[in-house]
Symmetry: C2
Subunit: 256 residues, 2 copies
């Protein structure tokens, strides 16, 4: 017996951000292998008869654990018809999908990939914040901490910031000490608006706005408290920061 694997993006945490197809696939799965970033409320949507296996990685032991996940995936798909591999956010961005796909391709096991709401889209929607704009900001750059180790790449980031475009940094705060100083060093304007959003779309979501030059890194780390965090940088966010964020608490919609 050999089944198939379906990779499912669970979105940023709020279960209402699952797609219709992701929800349906979770109802039909025999086994679900899930990551640390998948929210508990998403797991609650999976029927109790379904086998759920936690495969979250430990920070200090990545490579070993990935091999274990690969082996478990093969093992499960040889025993079950429908194995779901559930990842936080989207499956295609910062989800290290390639390793697992390669293992399945090599073993000639069929698979399918379902898109999920990215943490960035969830963040922007939760704030009512357009990520591109017509007048300025016709690009959107999605990056992570490693980008800012290289000053040449920081300069390329600056080219987009100077055009008014938005930059999103998926950033574990404890690893990003160099990001803001390196941007300032290559000449990014210290007045550049910076927005930090923690645990977007969850009831525990919180955000803070400042600008590049005034940002106190230790204070931002304390605010983030080790939870999933996105930094948003861009002139096009200035208007948002000055209006919506400081004034209006919008009515929320409850759909379940």
């Amino acid at each position: 017996m050999q089944g198939k694997v379906i990779f499912v993006g669970a979105g940023p945490g709020n279960p209402e951000l699952l797609t219709l197809e992701a929800y349906q696939v979770l109802q039909e799965a025999d086994v679900v292998l899930y990551d640390a970033l998948v929210g508990p409320e998403v797991l609650d949507l999976i029927p109790s008869r379904t086998q759920k296996i936690y495969v979250g990685k430990r920070a200090t032991n990545h490579s070993h654990k990935q091999r274990e996940i690969n082996e478990l995936l093969l093992d499960m798909v040889r025993q079950h018809e429908c194995v779901v591999r559930l990842k936080g956010g989207d499956t295609l961005i910062y989800a290290r999908l390639a390793d697992e796909l390669a293992v399945l391709q090599q073993a000639r096991i069929p698979y399918q990939v379902l898109a999920g709401i990215t943490t960035l889209s969830g963040t922007a929607a939760a704030l009512g914040l357009p990520l591109t704009s017509r007048d300025c900001g016709s690009e959107l750059l999605i990056t992570t901490v490693s980008t800012y180790s290289d000053l040449e790449t920081c300069k390329a980031v600056m080219t987009f910031l100077n055009r008014g475009s938005g930059v999103a940094i998926y950033m574990p705060t404890f690893r990003g000490q160099h990001v803001l100083p390196n941007l300032l060093e290559v000449g990014v304007d210290a007045e550049l608006p910076l927005l930090l959003v923690v645990q977007a779309t969850l009831p525990t979501q919180r955000q803070q706005s400042t600008n590049l030059g005034q940002a106190d890194y230790d204070q931002l780390c304390a605010f983030s408290a080790g939870d999933p965090t996105i930094f948003l940088l861009g002139w096009s966010f200035a208007n948002y920061i000055s209006t919506a964020m400081l004034s209006k608490v919008l009515e929320s919609v409850h759909v379940h």
Copy 2:
């Protein structure tokens, strides 16, 4: 009487890519104002009692139509409790949300924004194509044709391409004649893999792979045939193009 407006991202066209909250909101709306890029299968999910108003823009008459849409939105929300503004793709990327938000803010009308699957996520999932990778390509740059008019920005794009990162160009082919020549002019490697995906996630989805130097622009335009198209550029896509795309037709999942 004054209601609220909910902005909903319809995703790239396949109705199964709606989120649970978007689906629910469409069931509860009194009126739905929808764009040209919203697929007919998504519209079929809206109850027949709901008033549906097409507000797609004509290519030659943008500014006037946007003013009309703004007025219609205000008019509708003064008559109904729940007005849905349905846009193709996500609501936050290339959806010109800012104009409509500003109008509502000024009139002090409550609104909420729901995220949608971006056309890019839908495209990548449909192809089983990771958009970032661990070894190379830790950035993802989302752009449109106007980016490539400016050679300095083309050079910044090249910095990311040289690092192995992926670049997605949301591109109406009939306006993008300058894009590929300008990338070659600033020195991007002619061997760079290029993937063109048309009408991603729909039954009419089609794709073609080539490389920057060999791409025949007129031929790509003919292939696109004026339908919504994404160009994907990046060394990290080479492996995908050489394996998955040329070999395997994966089993599809039908969830409705």
